[in-house]
Symmetry: C2
Subunit: 310 residues, 2 copies
Amino acid sequence: MSDKNSIKGILAPVITPFKKDLSPDPERLIAHCKWLLSQDCGLAVFGTNSEANSLSVREKIDLLNSLTAAGIDPSRMMPGTGSCSLSDSVELTKHAVNSGCAGVLMLPPFYYKNVSEEGLYRYFAEVVERVGDSRLKIYLYHIPPVAIVGITAGLVERLMKRYPTAIAGMKDSSGDWSNTKMMLDRFAKSGFDVFTGNETFLLANMKNGGAGCISATANVNPAAINRLYREWRDPDAEVQQQNLNNIRKTVGQAMMIASLKNIVAHYSRNPEWITVRPPLTELKKEQANQIIEDLEQLNFSMPGLDAFSK
Amino acid sequence: MSDKNSIKGILAPVITPFKKDLSPDPERLIAHCKWLLSQDCGLAVFGTNSEANSLSVREKIDLLNSLTAAGIDPSRMMPGTGSCSLSDSVELTKHAVNSGCAGVLMLPPFYYKNVSEEGLYRYFAEVVERVGDSRLKIYLYHIPPVAIVGITAGLVERLMKRYPTAIAGMKDSSGDWSNTKMMLDRFAKSGFDVFTGNETFLLANMKNGGAGCISATANVNPAAINRLYREWRDPDAEVQQQNLNNIRKTVGQAMMIASLKNIVAHYSRNPEWITVRPPLTELKKEQANQIIEDLEQLNFSMPGLDAFSK
């Protein structure tokens, strides 16, 4: 359950920079995180857009250690810690809690399909019990287009009842506003923090008692998304929302992760950023250029990025 | 590409025994593997039916070490080593090769959906290059109902062309015979060993130049499946196939993994076997009993199991 100190607002599933040999580059990650924090954007490292499932637990622990060692405030972090394997999820979640992270964003185990609500309940319960730490705050991660396995209201209800402090909220990346609305209606009053999976639903989420959004696009457009989060009651909120949607549509005209890396490579003038781990592939040159051209038509920029770029 | 020493015939994706605390039980795994070998059944440990994706890489390495330390012949093993993470797949594959395993069964990275053939090609190529060992034999694992991400003929062709010795074959668990037939027609003559994902297609596979099958049901019915593998040219092959199908249908009337564990628990008189890791759940009592009753109607037994049970 949420309290007044819970992490809220806008978070980016921080893209993970790779070197030519496909190993993660902690220095560039630190720099990008510092820029995001300077834009008041929280750090959902190890999310879908971070290629987190293409990393080992060891690689994620090492990256998290690099971030905290560099002075990045863990109270602004919500690392993704869910994997198919109970053992892996427990290990990484423990490490995140011990590092002082505000919370963890947890995928359901996603290899087996058509598993029962009871099985998923047991999985999350087992993680909570094994982590065994009152500081644990789990945000359940519902992303059926990718994980296929989803988080149902029945599951949320059972988990909240049994673990009222550990079950803090969810990220809804279903892309289905009616699902988000249903979760808000059922659970927001009990202090369950609902984040939308992208900023398209940010205004609607705030109007209905939501906590913010965790959006891929926040990697490149954090300030404008944050502005709507702060100013959603203002008369120009609808216009702001429309502008955010236009940027998102432009960024998302190609595969989102490759597109974000292309944009950061361009604005930080560091072509190393385009590297993705297989099975993903970087954008084709023409597509990459088209996105930058289209963004410039929208007067897009990444202010202050230069100061942090390595 | 296959050679005359390649592993062929019937393999079981060996079910993984857990203790009450959900940790793997190496002693019971060793015993079950010894029984399977006594029935001339190869060991596809760490498959889908092994709950392998519910284990960490460390847990799998420890189990593999326990098996080889117990004298289980690695030339009869084809461990599953594919995961979403390139780093994890490389680590476990290296260990399998260094342990002397006959081959590895490799899932495609299955978190991201709708990835390109180029991306999957790069992933497998990267694994081959990083393992960098001429003993490596990869069997590509096509199981679209679970992994969603699949193995296409175009991918097989590209990989075989570039890595003719490392790309040894595939397991087709699509459940779609026309897909298996297409793979056989295109690649079997080049020495690419096609295993069907269950014994229902065993006779058809052998008639069309296939290498055998890797089937869940081989955990409990290995001798009869092996008999058809040896005798598929005999006049009673169709009858044998029908009998195998009847057993499979009975075993598979409930969730396959839970059902297999229920059957082994019953015939080894060790109720600990029913334990599954979340998100899976054990069978309900009535369903568990029904399956045993139905199997007894078919005169099913697990001969010799007692001698190996712990």
